[in-house]
Structure formats: structure tokens, C-alpha cells
Symmetry: C2
Subunit: 779 residues, 2 copies
């Protein structure tokens, strides 16, 4: 039997002493880190865990096995500890007879802190060796937890001319296994949850591990007022990170929104994505986040209607006895019910203590069916669900009411996912969501319904961003995709935060905002950055000659119709006139104190004179740089000039500021945006809007930021007004609130929250080859 000398000699030996000091120093400089040493013992307990813990400053986990245990049981215990990411080292304190070769070999080499457990040495020697091992393992463990420089291996892209179809380009590339990419960018294996070989969720624990790591540069990609065809913000984003990572060899991450699945099968759009992206998973279920949102959203909806029905058909007493049932003779409130009691001002914890009035207040949410604001959602373009009547079966006893389905990404839960900074915050936001109001005008929340915990459980995996890669093998986070009108249209705060830590101080995170800069960028600054506390370093403003010509007075651009000749042939006058819109967007960014790089997304019909003209005007209008991009035809190589400009401008100091203070009144905040960003003379509130403002003020929601729901096709509220409209009053038709997400959204015009299918949806061309499993027609 090996006699363990650890206890006897730990405090005597000089070496041990030095080791201890070193461990102490390591721990002091790494306050967040608590490596655990596991000790496996049979029968005796002459290593007191608390002693080791105090003496060498480690967490200690003691596994005591019974004297009759088998070798196999020892091995099993070791194998479990091998997989336990909290445990950095395993120390065997066992009689000789247990230390068979198979037991010894069971320990992962990197967890073996005890090189001498199978030999008999003097006690002092054993203590010394153990301590040295502990220090070495601990050092290695600490190092593993720290930031690692990237060793990214980009995938070579062989650009061809003419440019092949998107799917051909995509198929010509073989993605790296996602675990390889994760390792290259410094993720630890235990921080990764693979979903197949091309996508993986990343644990939020990374934020804790790298909390002392400085953030990288934070780049926002926004756009000028677009044509209905879109001007390529997503492709510019991808082209830029490919150029930064694969060509300039700078760490960089793209953060993109997850697209809704509905339009994938409805109307063709965003095909350019696919040029850069292994986009089949991207366009399909991905890692299920939107499905999780759908499930959570619809659980709230089902709870609302069921509650209305149960309250309408039961007495206070019956409701109370069902809501707080006697289980094995004991009645008690669940934690979420206790929280409701507190909100009601009832400070009692014994269900039998409530007065009949208190029981009534507790059991009756008294939701007004006419004032339920919560809608069901579905991730399908199903226009027949825009207005529906539910509850028409006999079992619902006449409680039919009119309501609607929205597309899943319009759910407030999607906006929460995009803005939250962790599980606790997400859970709190989910609980605060207002689903309607009671007959006496009180807001009713998810907490009141008792459903908060279940929502958090349904969303627990969705909160982790999904790691994917570009066609050039550089990393991308895909996470959240809230609507850009009724919500803020940005990818998630968490993805940006994780990426900023991973790229490190010299690296770049490129994130994208929906719609034009008047909407997406304004919300990115005033809502997303305010929530996250992150400060942007530079705005990349995407423009196209096509959109500028439209703003200069060119004919209408309509999806599915061939472009008029003005857009095919050189027309410098239209471009010059249209640059007013570009200039306005540059000015908007400057309002926030952030420098602008204009990225001209070049099309093959653009002439060099047109391109040069735009770049000249952009720089004259205050852009720090203006460059053309050819990522569409050349991948990252085509965006190197943009990458260089972004790198240079990002290194300059800037003076980021918000456009308004939260303490300003709701009306003041709306007016500030309307005047300073949109260029309106003033705003005009409908009576409904004014009434809502009064209501929100009364409820204490007045200090939330504003999320304008306005058309993206004009700086004004009139889609047909191109360029820089002036002399208009912005009408505020109505105002709504997403209390959980944390913003008030004024409606300027009617916002459709459910797309439809056209006569010939693109599913006609989508198919799966059952033999090769190749997907056709999805791009």
C-alpha cells in the first residue's frame, strides 16, 4: 500500500512551499478561476479535502469508493472525471492492489497530476513530486483558460470568370469540421456543442473565461436607403471578414442574423448570401433557435386563452383550489405564485391565510379578451393567418375571439434573444413581457401567467450563438434575427460580445443592422449599444450605383421586373443627384460621433466613372474613406481595399454618443429621431398614439428607448419619396410596447407581420436528390 505523504509533508518541504506560493500567485491574478482537483480514494481518508483546499488553494472533489469496489468501478469514476470540465487534475490515493495498468491508463494524460502513484518512494519524495505536478497541471490549466492567438487556416477560394452559380461555388468548397474552426479561433472543446459537422453552439461561459481579455474593434455594416432588391449588406459583411481574416490575416468574426425560414420557400431573396456561405443549413432549421422561439411564444398564447376560459367558467374557490392544490395534504404557493402575491401587495405565504378578496385578486388575472396584445407565431409564410378567429369549438364554450399569427421572427421573444446578455437577464425579460391588460387596465405579464420558467427552459439552448464559417473558412456567428421595423433588426448582443473576446484586441467584429442606416443603424446605436454597453468603432455604409440612381430620380425598381435602361447604362447625373441620400446617411452616423467608411458594392454594369464619382462625393461628404468592393466576383480578395480602410479608420479615436436620453419624454424621443435622422419638420400623434403614451407613462414605461416602425424604402414615411425628402410631418398612427425586450415602438404606417406565398412560390424549384442528398433550387 502506498502511503500518501501529502498531509504529512505538505507544509514542511521547501519545494512544496514554493509550489504553494506559485499557485497562490496564479489564483490571485486569475480571480475568476477555480480549478478543481479530484481525489479518488478507497476506504481511508487521510487526505482531508479541506486541508488540501486551504493549503494549496484548490477546490477539491473527493470521490470515496467502498472497500469492496472493483477495478472497473475505479476506472468508471476516472472516466467520468476525464469528461468533467471543472476538474483539471485527478489524484489517485489508492492501495497498490487497485493500481492496475488499466486503472492507471484510464486517466487522460493532461489530467494526471500524480506521476508517481504506482511506485513506492519516500514520503518526502512523493510529496514533492505531487506538488510539482499540481503546479504544472495548474499552470497548464490556467494557460488553457486564457486567450489563445488564432491559428486560422483559411480555405482557398478559386474565383472563376464568369462567376458560376452560387450553388456551384458553394459545392466546390469543402468546409472545415466545425470543431477544427473552433479550435483555430481559441475555443475550448467544452465550450462547443456541435450540431452536425458544420455548425455548433458556443457556451456563454466563454465570457467569464475571457473576461479580462480586451475587446476587438467593433464594426457596424449599415446601408443607404435601399431599392426593394436590397443592396448587399450581408454580402459586404461576409466579404469584409473574409478579407480581414483570410487575406490581411487579422482575426475577424462576422455576426449575422438568422433568416426566417418562411421566405425561403416563398419568394426568392438574399441569394447573394450563398456565394459566401455554406448556406443550406443557414436557410433551414439551423440549430433550432427559431423553432424554440415559436414554441415559447405559442406556449404563452395557449396559456392566455386557456386562462381566460378557466377564469370565465370557475368560481374563485375552484380556481384557487386548482391553482394551489393540496399535494399529500399540503398546500403551498410555487415560487412564481409568491412573486405574483408580492406584486399584488399580499405579504402572506400560507395559502390558508388569504382573505376572499385576496384570493380573488390572486386567481383572477381578469384579462380583457379585447386587449390581448400577444399573438401566436409560425415560421411559414401563411397569409391566411393574418386575421383569424380562435376558440370556435364547443369545448371553448363561446369564448371565440379574433386574433392573428405573425411570422416567428416578429415574436417579442426574438427581440429579447437579440438583446439579452445572459440566462438570468433573459429569464427576467421573458417574465416582464406584457401580454395584454386586465379589464381594469393593469398590464398582465408572462410572470402573472406563471409561464416564465418554462419559457426560459425552452430558450436555454437558443441563447447560445451558432458558429458557422464562410466559404473561405473564417468564423461567423449566426444568432437571432428580430424584425427590423416592429423590433430593432440587429443580430444578438451575445454573439457580438463573444466574438469581441475571441478576436482579441487587434481583431475585428463585423456586425450587421437591418434596413437603411436611418432605421437599422439608429436602433443599433440607441437600443442595442445602449443595452450592451459596447461602443462601435466604425460604420461601413453600403451603397450601390443602382440605389443612388434611383435616389437621383431614376425610374422605379421592382422585384421580378427587368431593370430599366438607366440602371444598365452609365448615367453620371442620376448618380450625382442620388448621392444626396448617401450624404444624409453619413451625416446620421456622424450625429452619433462614429466615422464612416463607404463600401460601394460594385455591379458588373457599373462604369469606372460612376464608381469614382460616388467615392469622390462620399469623401467630400465626410466619409473617412470610400472604396469599391468586388466580393461578389472575387470573394474576400475583392474586399481587401475595404478591409484596409476599415482597419485604418477603426484605429482612430471616436466620440460615440446616443442621440437622446432615456429620461426625455416619449414624445421628445420620437421627435428627436424624426427630425434629426429622418429630416421631418415635426411629428403628429394620432389620438390613439397620445392615449398610449399616457398609458405607458402611467405604467412607468416612459424611460424605454424608442424603436420606430417605419418603411425602409424612404428616409420619410412615404416609400415613394426617394433621395432626401424634406418638409414633411411624420404621422404616428399608434404606439406599442415590447416591455420584455425593453422598447416602445411607434407605428408609422401599417406594418405587415405575415408575408404570403406568391402564385408560384420558389418551392416549385426546390428538391432533394434522394441518392446524393444534394439539395436543388434552394438558392
Amino acid at each position: 500500500m502506498v502511503k500518501c505523504a501529502l498531509c504529512v509533508h505538505l507544509i514542511y518541504s521547501d519545494i512544496v512551499q514554493r509550489s504553494r506560493e506559485e499557485l497562490k500567485a496564479i489564483r490571485e491574478t486569475n480571480p475568476g478561476l477555480k480549478p478543481t482537483l479530484a481525489i479518488i480514494q478507497v476506504l481511508y481518508s487521510d487526505i482531508p479535502a479541506d486541508f488540501v483546499s486551504t493549503q494549496i488553494g484548490l477546490n477539491v472533489m473527493q470521490i470515496c469508493l467502498p472497500r469492496q469496489c472493483t477495478e472497473e468501478e475505479v476506472s468508471d469514476a476516472i472516466l467520468r472525471l476525464n469528461e468533467d470540465s471543472r476538474v483539471y487534475g485527478i489524484f489517485l490515493h489508492l492501495p497498490q492492489s487497485f493500481l492496475s495498468k488499466s486503472v492507471r491508463n484510464a486517466i487522460k494524460p493532461q489530467k494526471d497530476v500524480d506521476g508517481c502513484h504506482f511506485e513506492v518512494f519516500t514520503e518526502m519524495f512523493v510529496a514533492v513530486v505531487i506538488c510539482q505536478h499540481v503546479v504544472r497541471s495548474n499552470r497548464r490549466w490556467i494557460q488553457e483558460q486564457q486567450y489563445q492567438p488564432w491559428r486560422l487556416r483559411p480555405l482557398k477560394l478559386q474565383p472563376l470568370s464568369p462567376v458560376p452559380s452560387d450553388i456551384e461555388i458553394s459545392r466546390a468548397q469543402t468546409p472545415k469540421p466545425i470543431s477544427q474552426l473552433a479550435q483555430e479561433v481559441g475555443l475550448l472543446p467544452e465550450e462547443l456543442e456541435a450540431y452536425g459537422n458544420t455548425k455548433a453552439k458556443v457556451h456563454l461561459s466563454l465570457l467569464n473565461r475571457l473576461q479580462h481579455q480586451p475587446n476587438g474593434k467593433y464594426v457596424l455594416v449599415a446601408g443607404i436607403t435601399p431599392t426593394p432588391l436590397g443592396e448587399g449588406k450581408s454580402t459586404v459583411t461576409i466579404g469584409l471578414v473574409q478579407a480581414l481574416s483570410a487575406h490581411l490575416k487579422l482575426n475577424s468574426f462576422a455576426c449575422l442574423r438568422q433568416p426566417s425560414q418562411g421566405p425561403t420557400f416563398g419568394v426568392k431573396g438574399k441569394t447573394a448570401y450563398s456565394l459566401y456561405f455554406f448556406s443550406i443549413q443557414f436557410n433551414l432549421h439551423l440549430t433550432g433557435d427559431i423553432h424554440a422561439i415559436t414554441a415559447a411564444n405559442n406556449l404563452v398564447a395557449a396559456a392566455i386563452d386557456a386562462r381566460i376560459l378557466h377564469e370565465a367558467t370557475q368560481s374563485d374557490k375552484a380556481l384557487y383550489s386548482r391553482l394551489v392544490p393540496s399535494v399529500n395534504g399540503v398546500r403551498c404557493f410555487s415560487p412564481i405564485q409568491m412573486a405574483r402575491l408580492q406584486r399584488l401587495g399580499i405579504n402572506k405565504s400560507d395559502p390558508s391565510d388569504l382573505t376572499p378578496e385576496e384570493v380573488r385578486a390572486f386567481v383572477r388575472l381578469d384579462l380583457d379578451p379585447e386587449k390581448v396584445t400577444w399573438q401566436r407565431v409560425i415560421d411559414t409564410n401563411d397569409r391566411f393567418l393574418r386575421k383569424i378567429t380562435v376558440g370556435q369549438a364547443n369545448t371553448e364554450k363561446g369564448h371565440a375571439r379574433q386574433t392573428q399569427f405573425d411570422i416567428a421572427v416578429a415574436s417579442e421573444i426574438m427581440a429579447i434573444l437579440a438583446l439579452t446578455d445572459g440566462l438570468a437577464d433573459m429569464r427576467a425579460r421573458l417574465g416582464r413581457m406584457v401580454v395584454g391588460s386586465s379589464r381594469n387596465g393593469q398590464p398582465i405579464t408572462a410572470d402573472d401567467l406563471g409561464v416564465t420558467g418554462a419559457l426560459a427552459v425552452l430558450m436555454k439552448d437558443a441563447i447560445k450563438p451558432t458558429l458557422m464559417q464562410t466559404l473561405e473558412g473564417t468564423p461567423v456567428f449566426v444568432h437571432a434575427g428580430p424584425f427590423a421595423n416592429i423590433a430593432h433588426g440587429n443580430s444578438s448582443v451575445l454573439a457580438d460580445k463573444l466574438a469581441l473576446k475571441l478576436v482579441g484586441e487587434e481583431g475585428f467584429v463585423v456586425t450587421e443592422a437591418g434596413f437603411g442606416a436611418d432605421i437599422g443603424m439608429e436602433k443599433f446605436f440607441n437600443i442595442k449599444c445602449r443595452t450592451s454597453g459596447l461602443k462601435p468603432d466604425v460604420v461601413v455604409l453600403v451603397a450601390t450605383v443602382r440605389a443612388l440612381k434611383m435616389h437621383g430620380g431614376g425610374p422605379n425598381v421592382t422585384a421580378g421586373v427587368p431593370l430599366p435602361k438607366e440602371y444598365i447604362n452609365e448615367n453620371l447625373q442620376l448618380v450625382t443627384d442620388g448621392c444626396s441620400n448617401l450624404k444624409k446617411h453619413i451625416q446620421i452616423a456622424h450625429l452619433f460621433g462614429v466615422p464612416v467608411v463607404v463600401a460601394l458594392n460594385a455591379f458588373k454594369t457599373d462604369t469606372q466613372a460612376e464608381i469614382d464619382l460616388v467615392c469622390r462625393i462620399a469623401e467630400a461628404s465626410g466619409a473617412s474613406a470610400a472604396v469599391q468592393c468586388h466580393h461578389w466576383s472575387r470573394g474576400g480578395r475583392g474586399s481587401v481595399e475595404l478591409a484596409q480602410a476599415v482597419k485604418e479608420v477603426a484605429s482612430q479615436k471616436n466620440h460615440f454618443q446616443f442621440l437622446y436620453n432615456l429620461q426625455d419624454s416619449i414624445v421628445e424621443k420620437i421627435r428627436t429621431i424624426a427630425q434629426k435622422v429622418y429630416g421631418a419638420d415635426d411629428i403628429e400623434l394620432s389620438p390613439e398614439a397620445q392615449a398610449k403614451i399616457d398609458y405607458y407613462n402611467q405604467q412607468g414605461f416612459g424611460a424605454l428607448p424608442i424603436c420606430m416602425a417605419k418603411t425602409h424604402l424612404s428616409l420619410s414615411h412615404m416609400p415613394e419619396k426617394k433621395g432626401v425628402p424634406t418638409g414633411f410631418i411624420l404621422p404616428i398612427r399608434d404606439i406599442r410596447a415590447s416591455i420584455g425586450a425593453g422598447f416602445i415602438y411607434p407605428l408609422v404606417g401599417t406594418m405587415s407581420t405575415m408575408p404570403g406565398l406568391p402564385t408560384r412560390p420558389c418551392f416549385y424549384d426546390i428538391d432533394l436528390d434522394p441518392v446524393t442528398e444534394e439539395i436543388k433550387g434552394l438558392f
Copy 2:
């Protein structure tokens, strides 16, 4: 520069000759196997691929890199081949200057067929070494593709008394990484798609790889007529495989249905699952299959209503020009449109050739809104969606109609997933789904809507079964979960087939059928086994003393209400009388020629006298064995006796047969089931049912099997009739058809396809600890 001697010497050397013969022999005995050798070359081509291919009988993939290529490009090519599962070996045929250490090290050792590519030897020596390497690698490759005996390492379960809560038991166990379990049961890494660390999808290519491997024994777990509380079929299934695998050391797999997520948040049920199962993922999104079904189902629904609207608001010409648009001046039919033309008897392929009548027939499905049978689905218990009116928004122009949502698992697509045997078959079944009928009575299918390919794409991952593990670390497939009344209520054919190959000839696959044996088992035999061609070896019939007492005349058993004393105290008379139900179920199994092992799921209130009595009567009634199971309190160890009985009975020959022929008339098939299985005197068809039968016969659907939609709470159609009811006429209220899934389902009574939420849904107790991420209250 290494000169490659392969071509010169391949046919001369004796060793080479022997190698070639050996390879030939390997290939002849493995006809399905085509290992690919990849050859990477720069500039010259003195290894003609077809020569190597002919001479050594391998597929050859030649990668020719340009003369100017870099070392990095060579490494990239190698890394891609490392990940290509088709390639068993990589041979470098490169100038010395390219063979740097980093290039050589890039090859995975197991793919390196060429140990000497960096040394200069005589040409003959090189040839010999290469050939030996090729043979060795090839042998290894072949071996890897073949069946591997399991090296399962079960997890030890330490049963405690009293039995702790389910969640405590589950937390006390650390699951093996799923990749480890996969390797233990002989899966290749490329056959696995991990979803996190505890679940993974398994590729169907396994069926091809192991096609020559004999199947294991096929065990069905069915039950007697249950109480509303359920009698524990799922836990018996898990206990049995734990006993077989972890205790008798026989390879065994459980195949379970995926539960609907809806009830998880509604009414407590199936809690016993958790005792055996790492069930948090099991109860939540799992790998997204139900979400995929929801998306596919609802795409069909959206397509139906949109099509009705578009047809109602457009002329034939407008519809035609939209359905077959001119793209760059060319009009053509998509493949799915060509298929529709053929069904219409129009043998034309040029869109301009169609006559106006043909155009009209082509563009108008003319769906009768009153006769749409396809419903939307959602995976939430949302009772207010049981009957709804859709299409009430102005944009839908008055085309409102009444319809309903079903719970997602009621979708026909779920039934298809459970019955299909591969991608091609699934695609075909999806296309055949009938969604309604036209105004002139023709069935309209998903193919007619043009949506088949998109459905197949949405379902392409769902078709792969999900691998998980029991608490004792033994393998489980979770796949599909169709309703047990309007569908056949069995887990998937594919999961069973994969598992039967993996366990091997001496192994066991234990699969479960929903409801009592009169429903689940009858459908398992007549529908599932008929479809799959698989033959069951033994039926395990689960009984409880509780249910038998109910059948013997005990008082009502109601969920949520304490059990009457008859169920707590010994009562041999009730048990004796109730065994009539058990006997009847044994007889039903014998109708199909399959032997029965009765598993008495023992509760702590059962007395030994009661248990012995049941076992005695069961054996006297023809059961091959009858044993008590204590898996609930003791895990697999508590089911060892059952496992031994199953093993013994499964080794006996049986004479499996179907109960009816598909060629029998629909009425005859229904009558056979009613009389032989349920014990009815006869059946009685409503006029609706008779009309449907005439319609299905006319449409050619008469030869489909029958899937009865009957209550599971009685052998008859009257839930309150316990024991063995006789002297009744089974009323057939209506008949429906799932043409894609491939069965006709007569309705006996009203079937609810949408559960509701009670006054206090179990979500009140569900929560997530934001720090530990532990889930509370889900069990």
C-alpha cells in the same frame, strides 16, 4: 524527385501480384464496398488512374495540382481528403520539394497508404512497399466497414432505498459522451452527427454498410388495456434493454417514440421515463424532428390556402404566366409540373403547345374549400385552435374558411416518418399525401401543389434516428412518434432497422407500440411489419395488478385523484377476474403467431400473492413466460428475469402471419379486426363511412391497410367497458385516409387531436437556474 515506380512494376513483382489477388478477393466477398484511393499529383501524370483502378480494383480519385501550387495548397487538399469518408487512403505522388514535414504530417495516419513517399528507394522497392501498404490499408478499411462486436461500457447504477426522485437519480449519473457510446456499438465516426454531447443523429448509410449483417431478435413491448394512468410500457422497454445490455451482456437497443412537447408543459405524465433516461433533452426540442414536421406540414397548409386564393382571383392566362414564367425569354415546366401534366394525361413539354383547355386543367387544382382535409399543426397544447376561421384579413378577399390546428405529432408527415424506409420512399410518400379534393371530386395531392421537394428538404435531417442512452449507458434510438389512434402509434421502421443491424445476430431490439395490444400491437403487425418486412420474435405484454383489478371490477381510476383502497390492499378476486383482459391480449398476439412473455410491472403496493396469481394465470392462458419486473426501484438489475425469459422465448421458432390480406375489401378488413381483435359481433357503418369507402375504392385506395381510431381504454369502443366486453356492434362513424403514410383510418367515436392546458399547467413548477443551468420541475 521521387520517381514513382507503380506503373512500371505493378504487374511484374510477385508481391504486387499477391497483393492484387488479395484485394480482388476482398472485393469479391464485399460486393457493396468500393474503397477509393486518392492520388495527389503535381504537374505530371505518370500514374494513369484507370490503370491503377483496373490493376488493383480500386476506385481512384486523382487530384492534380498546378505546378506553381504552394505547400499550403497541398496540405489543404490532404485535409479535405482526410475528412472525405469515401477515401480510405491517400497516396502522394509529388516531387521531393513538396514533401515537407508539414505536408507529410497532414495525412491522417490511418489514411497514409504510402510509408515511403519521402525517401528514395529503388523503383521496385517502392512498388512493393506501396502495394503492401495498399493491401494493409484496404484490409483495415474493409474491416472498419464491417460489423464490430460491441465493447459496451455500461454505467453503474447505485439503486437507493427509498427510491429518490427521478431528477435526483438522473443527476447522479454522468452520461457517456455520445460519440463514445456510438463507437462502443460499432458506429463509424462519419455515420454520426452529434447534437451536443448527449444526442446524435445516425446516418442511414449504415443500412448499406451492414446490409449483409444478419438482423438481431425483434421484440415488441405492448400492454393490456390500460388505466388512464398508463401501465409503464416505456419503462419496461428501458428496463429490459438495461437488463439485456448491462447485466446479461447481450447487445440490445431500445427504440422509443419521441414525445410531443405540448404535454410537457401541460399535464404531468410519463414521469417514469426520467428514471431511466437523460430525459431533459428527450422532453424538449431533442434534435428538432417535430419542429421539422411542423414546418413541413404548415408549408402544405399555407400552399393550399394561397393556391385557392390565387386561383379565385386570377384568370387562367394570368395563372399560367405566373406558374410557368418566362425567365430570360424562356418558358419551361419544372420537373414537378411535368409530373402533374402526366397525371392529367397531357403529354406535352413545351408550355406554348397547351390548348386553353389543357392550360385550364393544369393551372386549376380547383380545390373545394369545404373539402380540404389538411390541417395546420402546432406542438403546443392550444385548445383554442381546435376550431378556427382563417383568412379574415382584407388581403384574403373574403376567402375565409373554418379549419383547425392539430397537435404536431398528429400530422400525416409524422406517420410517414415512422413508416418510411429511406429518402426516396419518404419523398414519394410526401408527394402522394392527399390534402383535399377538387370540386369535381378528384383527390388533390402535395405533388399537385408543387411542394413535394421542399417537404423532402425540410425533412432531410428528421429522417435520421436520434441516438441517446439510458441511465445505465446502453443505447436507445428515439425516432418518430405518430398518434396511436388516427395513426399507428409506433416508433420508426428506420430506427428498428438500424438497431437490428447494430445489435447483430445474437442481439435484441426492443421497440414499443402505443396504447393496448388491441390497438398498438395490431397496428405494429398489420401496418408497420407489413411495411418494413420485419418479423417480430416475441411480444412482451405489460400488465399491472392495478389495471387487472380495474378489469376485474375495481372502481374507476382517475388521474389526479387518490387511488381507491381496492388498489392499495390485496384483493385476489379482483385480480383473478381482471386476468380475462390479459388472457384476451395473449390470444390476440397468438392470432399473429407470435409468442408472449408477460411482464408484470410491480408496484410497491402489490402483494406477493397477487403477483404470483397473475403469473400463474398468464402462463395458464398461453403465455410462454410471465415474470415480475422491478426496474422502477432497481434499474436494469430489476428486469434481469424478464430479460432471461425474453432471450429464451425469442430463440424459439414462430409462425408470424398477418391478420388480413390487403386485397380483402375495406369492410372485410375492418370487420376482421373488430371481430377477431376487439371481440365485436359485427360492425355498423354510418352512411358517411359507406360513402367514403365507395370513394376510396373508386380512387384506388382500397388495398391499403386499416388503422383503427378507437379508444384505448376498452377492448370495445366504450371506454367504460372493462375486462373483455362481448355482444357489441362496433360503430364506424366516419372513415379517413392517410394516403402518403399508406393507411385508411376508420373513426370509432370522436378523437381529439388537440389537448388543452388545465387550470394549473405543470409549467408553474418548471424553471431554469440561470447560474447552474439546472432545470427544475420538468419531471
